[in-house]
């Protein structure tokens, strides 16, 4: 039973190892869990889960393996679903006839009742043993994630004891992998991009050198100092702005503010859709205050790391042909300019806020993917992580 539990956890991609399994056995041997199911749940959770992102997966597996372990009377479906989704769902699942019946029978209460039954039926058809609606992407809600403002169905408040088993509450839903990409998270990802070097004023005691010099000095103390270590990575960020990028403005803002506090040598410029001969720093004065791309290539030395941020979604002509720009007449194609940047800067990546699975449908994304020699990454935490690894190479 426990072996199954362990194996299923591994299958659900909760990183558990034999060491932890043995620790759990040891814990039970020592009677930490006190023979109560709740305590066993807490104990196994403390031992087997090492990251809050995995707590929800753990809860799901636990619920599945130990289903019916502690039968709670009258236990129905306990899920938190916002009302509007339920209404939508009701529309989907209930036939016209049923809807009319419901209306005749009287309103929302009845609707919920029917819906609950329907959901129960539907559950049984789900694969992968996911217990509740909304898990493992098999349910109609999967894409929407968790909403705290939910209504509960199948839960009677007046019942004695707890209505829902602890693990079935799935309180950690919102800590699951779809971590919002917040400034803090971005900063952590950006920290991968650090290269420490000693530069500037000498403020730290250099122990090995002090000892060496003192020894050479026949025992007379000679103190040697070194400069402090500092991050010397230089970063050049080029943001696509306006048009189709408006939808991604928040995540770009977050990326920008995180990057700004993380790097000392940070330069940024804006472009629209594709990189051409001009860039600008202030979007309000974009037609007045421009900076030529050629100058950019000369101004910032090749040890700058270049980060393009853009959805790369446009007509392929805007990239491939002179005069393809939607805003002005460009003498040289965007392709040429991007190629120049790629030739100048060895470390270059493209971050794309468009979800990766949509990339193959947009020819311009593929084109730019090629131009950046497959160094395009989605603007998610994972993508950012891989992008930073790429830049560090």
């Amino acid at each position: 039973m426990f072996v199954n539990f362990f194996l299923e956890l591994r299958q659900a991609k909760v990183p558990v190892s034999i060491k932890e399994y043995l620790a759990l056995m040891e814990g039970m041997d020592k009677g930490v869990s006190d023979f109560s199911v709740d305590d066993f749940y807490y104990l196994s959770r403390a031992i087997l889960v090492k990251d809050e992102r995995n707590l929800d997966k753990f809860d799901r597996v636990f619920g599945h393996i130990f289903k019916g372990l502690e039968a709670v009377p009258g236990e129905g479906i306990a899920a938190e679903i916002p009302e509007e989704w339920l209404r939508k769902l009701a529309e989907k699942l209930l036939t016209e006839e049923e809807k009319k019946q419901i209306e005749a029978m009287g309103g929302w209460e009845k609707l919920m009742e029917t819906l609950k039954k329907r959901l129960e039926e539907q559950q049984k058809r789900h694969q992968g043993g996911s217990k509740w609606i909304g898990t493992a992407g098999t349910s109609p809600f999967g894409a929407h994630g968790f909403n705290p403002e939910g209504v509960r169905i199948g839960q009677d408040k007046n019942r004695e004891g707890r209505a829902v088993k602890v693990w079935d509450k799935r309180e950690y839903k919102n800590l699951d992998d779809t971590v919002e990409i917040g400034t803090r998270n971005i900063k952590i990802a950006l920290r991968r991009l650090r290269k420490f070097a000693r530069e500037g004023a000498e403020v730290e005691l250099d122990m090995p050198d002090t000892i060496r010099s003192t020894a050479r000095n026949a025992g007379w103390l000679e103190i040697k100092m070194v400069p402090e270590r500092r991050n010397k990575v230089k970063l050049l960020i080029l943001f696509d702005i306006g048009g189709s990028m408006d939808a991604h403005i928040r995540v770009c803002e977050e990326l920008f503010s995180a990057a700004r506090s993380e790097f000392k040598h940070l330069e940024f410029f804006y472009f629209h859709n594709c990189l051409y001969e001009k860039l600008w720093k202030d979007n309000r004065r974009r037609h007045v205050d421009t900076f030529s791309t050629a100058q950019l290539l000369h101004t910032y030395p090749a040890d700058y790391k270049v980060l393009f941020v853009g959805d790369a979604s446009m007509s392929p002509y805007e990239i491939a042909y002179p005069g393809g720009s939607v805003e002005h007449w460009n003498e040289e194609s965007g392709q040429t300019w991007i190629q120049r940047v790629a030739d100048t800067y060895r470390s270059m990546v493209w971050l794309n806020p468009v979800p990766e699975r949509h990339w193959s449908y947009t020819p311009s994304i593929q084109l730019l993917q090629q131009l950046s020699s497959n160094r395009m990454f989605p603007l998610t935490l994972g993508g950012l992580d891989s992008a930073m690894k790429e830049l560090n190479k």
Binding site: K19, G27, D38, L43, A46
Partner: protein
Amino acid sequence: MKFTGTDSYVASDDLRVAVNAAIALQRPLLIKGEPGTGKTVLAHEVAKALKAPIIEWHIKSTTKAQQGLYEYDAVSRLRDSQLGDERVKDIANYIKKGKLWEGFTHPERPVLLIDEIDKADIEFPNDLLLELDRMEFYVYETQQVIKAEQRPIVMITSNNEKELPDAFLRRCFFHYIRFPDRETMTQIVDVHFPDLQRNLLREALNVFYDIREVPGLKKKPSTSELLDWLKLLMVEDMSPDALRSKDSKQLIPPLHGALLKNEQDVHLFERLAFMARREQRQ
């Protein structure tokens, strides 16, 4: 040795089990959670409950794992050698014990708090693997092995600024302190301010959870901020009505400085409150 919470710390069931597991199985307990949910305080309370001494090791970005074991003060030895000090003959005089050493050799079983481990360099946790696993280390200068006679209760807190390496996590138990719900929060406040007026508390909690609900706050107020704010409210002798007042002049709660910690948040809150008022009036 069992931890059941103390009269000044409300521990949820899951936290209790996690702490007891860590004590019984002698593994380090890694605690994560929003800032201000009582991660560091937990270690103090565990020490208090078990009547064990507490040894605190606060980690900074410059902290090295070696510093927790011991440091060899070569410079003062060099200086002493020039001054002809007798102590210079014994290298042990210049070995400074670190917090782990202290913890390992303490006559009683202590609680060892390694606070904010995520602040240290990325390699820091890896450098402590063996030491935390076997609870022993080797002092090269004096060629002795320091071994814990009784394994200290190790508590490690993290604010999630860095991912910890898997090998390190394998050796720890883990607990994520969730943000307390209203019921637990009432208990927590009771523990800290037993003579707070009921209705003031209710209003204050309303305001507090409302603020936490505001979308887009840079830093949501947490338990410790709530406690500070309540303390202020009590000092100022604020009446529950003042909190409830829907007076349009006063858009944000009194003494909000304790809850909202940056001007963007205050600004955002003011704007939202203003909009809410306007809607109400229409």
